[in-house]
């Protein structure tokens, strides 16, 4: 299947919008292997200290730096962990590059995050601990915000690079962090991290275990960027060479062994991992299994431990059926758990969607209840930020389906029953374009709008529609959102946003976007983001439709496996917290 199937991607939540671009471009299918990881459950229980230097920083609490040893023993869940076994991940798409600064397709992220670490990681349960967003239990053992522009990171002292040439087990120091951040914000046009790190002004390493980062302007998303999946810390010995794409040498729980092209990537346990005792699997094999039928057969046969998905690709009845066939499984159902959802996406500079009333006709006209039903009941409304995230709007914030109002709006815009609106949605087979468009076409019928589907070739769509061409009316697809509203909304809806592909312009939205960017108080920022989202929903450069739920099965022998809260892209590396009991024989 070359078809890039969004619903298959939907079974996993942690893919970024950017990942989609490259992954889709590759004509590859999405993650099948779990992107979610095993979570230690330790982070949000760690005692927090507030640097207190600025009252408005109080919301973004930096937890006390726990030692690695303390972590391993502090978590009672890990006390019974067993070592051993080979963990198989069935991945639909082969990694493109192991350099996550460059490529973040689902496969690339999955593989690289077994090997590399980040400075920070996202708190596991955002909703339960809303004050803590990014915690420092990766390479940063602690961090504090000195003032609105300055962050100081203390680094773990016992981290070493994998003992592989050319890095050869060198000790990890602040210099590596400085190198990596400078690389990410550098000028290599192939690196996709540049805009996220662009607000950084300078990076200093006053001593081997301290890094001080100064931003050019108050940048509330900074910690989110530092904890972002593809903000991996890399050694210069490798990252400066072209080998970095086909090889990975990190500080992480697993050591990259080899990449058998089109077949599998092999990883071995890192015995010198800075969290002593971890990880628990002796080997990890990330197998490239492009066919959904094959992945399903592998799960049924016990060769993999996680399988599941979302309708319409994997209807929940199929999952029930599997549950009967494979009894020793845990099931995790999640309502609207996915990062974002499906949307109608308009070119706001061309007729007919340069008329706000026409866009709003979609907002009021679409039959959301029907869509939610088709997606099997675990779906919910989608918004500019996912509803399940702390930034998300509530269902009640959205207008309900109102066909009469939609018709009135169209009439005001000059589209009457005699002269009905007929639009063309330009899609590709990627990003669930076909599924979303077929449904949209039908749910807009009662409003008297004819939606024609024009399917074009994948790369043509990405470069000419998805990334903001001028010669299209609208498109419709499913997509993730970023977990931080600055990344999730600024680039897409600010007049000068580098991904403002709807060509949307609003001075009010621009002002709110600037305001949230400099607001460090989480509650205050949430309010701004809420106002911004209400504005976006009403202005409707996109009409957000629904996001589906997921239903996932995992074998009981896989312990401490938790599906992560949506948006936690760091979960990719958290296989270090999982173990087998009993250990499978093969």
């Amino acid at each position: 299947m070359a078809e890039d199937n969004y619903w298959r991607r939907y079974s996993r939540r942690t893919v970024r919008r950017r990942s989609f671009i490259a992954g889709g471009a590759a004509g590859l299918t999405a993650l099948m292997a779990a992107a979610a990881g095993c979570s230690s459950g330790k982070n949000n229980t760690t005692a927090s200290t507030n640097t207190g230097s600025n009252a408005r920083v109080a919301g973004t609490v930096a937890p006390a730096p726990p030692t690695a040893q303390a972590l391993a023993t502090a978590d009672p869940a890990l006390a019974n962990a067993k070592r051993g076994g080979t963990f198989n991940i069935d991945q639909a798409d082969e990694p493109i590059s192991l350099d996550n600064h460059r490529q973040e397709t689902p496969g690339s992220i999955q593989a690289a995050n077994l090997v590399y670490n980040h400075l920070l990681r996202r708190a596991e349960d955002f909703v339960a601990a809303p004050g803590i967003i990014y915690v420092s239990d990766e390479l940063a053992s602690g961090w504090e915000q000195i003032d609105k522009l300055t962050y100081r990171f203390s680094l773990v002292k016992n981290a070493k690079w994998h003992n592989v040439a050319p890095v050869n087990g060198r000790v990890f120091t602040a210099d590596d962090v400085k190198y990596s951040i400078d690389r990410m914000r550098g000028s290599d046009p192939e690196l996709r991290t540049r805009s996220a790190w662009a607000p950084v002004d300078k990076v200093e390493a006053p001593d081997p275990y301290t890094v001080v980062v100064t931003t050019k302007q108050p940048y509330a998303a900074f910690t989110a960027i530092a904890g972002h999946t593809w903000s991996i810390i890399m050694p210069r010995e490798l990252a400066d060479t072209p080998d970095v794409n086909r090889k990975a040498i990190g500080t992480g729980p697993f050591i990259f062994k080899d990449w058998q092209s089109g077949v599998a990537l092999h990883f071995d346990r890192n015995p010198d991992y800075f969290r002593s005792g971890q990880p628990f699997f002796d080997h990890v094999v990330m197998r490239v299994v492009p066919d959904l039928g094959a992945r399903t057969a592998n799960f049924r046969a016990g060769e993999t431990d996680i399988w599941g998905g979302s309708p319409p690709t994997i209807p929940f009845s199929t999952i029930d059926d599997m549950k009967n066939a494979v009894p020793d499984v845990n099931e995790i159902k999640r309502t609207g758990s996915n990062n974002s959802g499906t949307k109608a996406f308009f070119n706001t500079t061309a007729a007919p969607f340069n008329d706000k009333r026409v866009r709003q006709a979609f907002l009021y006209g679409a039959d959301y209840d029907s869509m939610i039903k088709i997606f099997g009941g675990l779906a919910q409304r989608a918004g500019p930020m996912p509803l399940a995230s702390v930034w998300g709007l509530k269902e009640a914030d959205f207008p309900k389906t109102d066909v009469a109002k939609a018709k009135a709006l169209l009439e005001a815009a000059g589209y009457t029953a005699d002269k009905p609106l007929r639009v063309k949605t330009t899609i590709s087979r990627q990003y669930a374009g076909p599924a979303v468009s077929q449904i949209l076409q039908q749910v807009m019928k009662p409003v008297g709008v004819t939606v024609d589907i024009d399917q074009i070739e994948d790369t043509a769509w990405i470069t000419q529609v998805y990334r903001g061409g001028q010669n299209y009316q609208m498109t419709s697809f499913g997509d993730w959102s970023w977990e931080d509203p600055d990344r999730g909304l600024y680039a897409y809806f600010h007049t000068d946003g580098n991904a403002n592909n709807t060509h949307y312009t609003s001075t009010q939205a621009d002002a709110l976007l600037e305001q949230q960017r400099g607001e460090f108080d989480v509650e205050a920022r949430k309010k701004i983001v809420r106002d911004l989202q209400l504005l976006l929903v009403d202005d409707a450069p996109n009409v957000w439709l629904v996001s589906t739920g997921t239903d996932e099965l995992s074998r009981k022998r896989l312990h401490n496996y938790k599906q992560m809260q949506m948006g936690n892209q760091n979960s990719y590396r958290e296989w270090e917290n999982c173990w087998f009991d009993p250990i499978p024989s093969t």
């Binding site: 493109i96 192939e190 086909r246 074009i456 470069t463 991904a499």
Partner: protein, 315 residues
């Protein structure tokens, strides 16, 4: 004879030029831009233009083509844009897989089709003949991807067994694993081909058996087996050889579905991705390989004619 081969090789040069230039132009006129795809949203339009220049994509098409041909002739196939390694390395990984799959499929096809085809012709209009013919025509009508997915979906449910779908080793590294991985996709590919060859073998043999020299052989009192095998089958093989030769190229190109479903690291899957991601150097090299294989197979087929039918000479 060697003269003949030489002339054939020379005659294939314009064909190769046409094919490579066709591929070269075709993949470039599909809308969509490699540079924009590769760089993403963070890149400015200027950076994308510069990147195109760096890749040489802003040069006139004929100039790009000549440059590529020049490099190819010196053994430099370029750098794969999305595999981040030389095209030659990628091809070295992928081509043998598909080659082996195609060979195995042709072998399976031959092993089934030729004996059954002979049987079908000899027992013309018997129940066996009817059954074989109907089975063959049925297999020709079943979509191969459908057969492949049935094979990986139903046996696990019915018997708790499934064909191996992960891992791969070359026959030199691990012949057993290689065979386990290859046999099922080869069967799926092979049965379709076998159905075709069986029908052809049958009709070809029937026709031969009506020829005068076969009647002569009968009248000389030779045994049935001798007549059929020695005189009938050898000549009857001529169209079969043609078809097998062509089937081989066909299977080489058609392996993509089997590779996709069974997860084999072959050239078809790679090609599909390369086209959709505009990996120009990789696509061009694959097309060149396809064309070369096709031309070489055609030549081999023609040479085999001479062996099978002594009336044909090469001058």
């Amino acid at each position: 004879m060697s003269n003949y081969i030489l002339r054939r090789l020379i005659a294939s040069i314009p064909v190769l030029v046409l094919v490579t230039f066709g591929a070269f132009a075709l993949i470039r006129i599909i809308p969509g831009d490699l540079a924009a795809l590769k760089l993403g949203n963070d890149a400015t339009p200027q950076e994308i233009r510069d990147y195109r220049t760096k890749l040489g994509l802003n040069d006139p098409l004929p100039a790009q083509y000549i440059k590529w041909i020049g490099h190819t002739l010196t053994g430099d196939f370029g750098q794969s844009q999305w595999e981040y390694r030389p095209v030659a390395d990628v091809v070295r990984d992928k081509f043998p897989v598909t080659l082996e799959l195609a060979l195995l499929a042709v072998a399976i096809s031959t092993a089934f089709a030729i004996p059954l085809g002979i049987l079908s012709a000899v027992r013309q209009d018997s129940l066996l003949d009817q059954a074989l013919r109907f089975t063959a025509i049925l297999f020709l009508a079943i979509p191969s991807f459908w057969l492949a997915i049935l094979l990986i979906t139903l046996p696990p449910i019915w018997f708790g067994w499934k064909p191996p779908l992960t891992g791969y080793a070359t026959p030199w590294q691990d012949p057993a694993l290689n065979f386990r991985r290859m046999i099922w996709p080869a069967l799926v590919l092979g049965v379709g081909s076998a159905a075709f060859v069986l029908r052809l073998m049958r009709s070809s043999l029937l026709e031969i058996l009506r020829q005068d020299y076969i009647r002569t052989a009968w009248s000389k009192g030779l045994r049935e087996r001798t007549v059929i095998l020695r005189h009938g089958v050898k000549v009857g093989m001529i169209p079969i050889v043609t078809v097998l030769g062509l089937q081989f190229s066909v299977l080489l190109g058609g392996a993509v579905i089997a590779e996709q479903v069974f997860g084999l690291p072959g050239m078809g899957r790679s090609l599909l991705g390369a086209v959709s991601r505009r990996d120009y150097p990789l696509v061009q090299t694959y097309v060149l390989i396809f064309a070369l294989v096709y031309l070489v197979m055609n030549l081999i087929v023609d040479l085999l004619y001479g062996y099978l039918d002594p009336r044909i000479t090469y001058s």
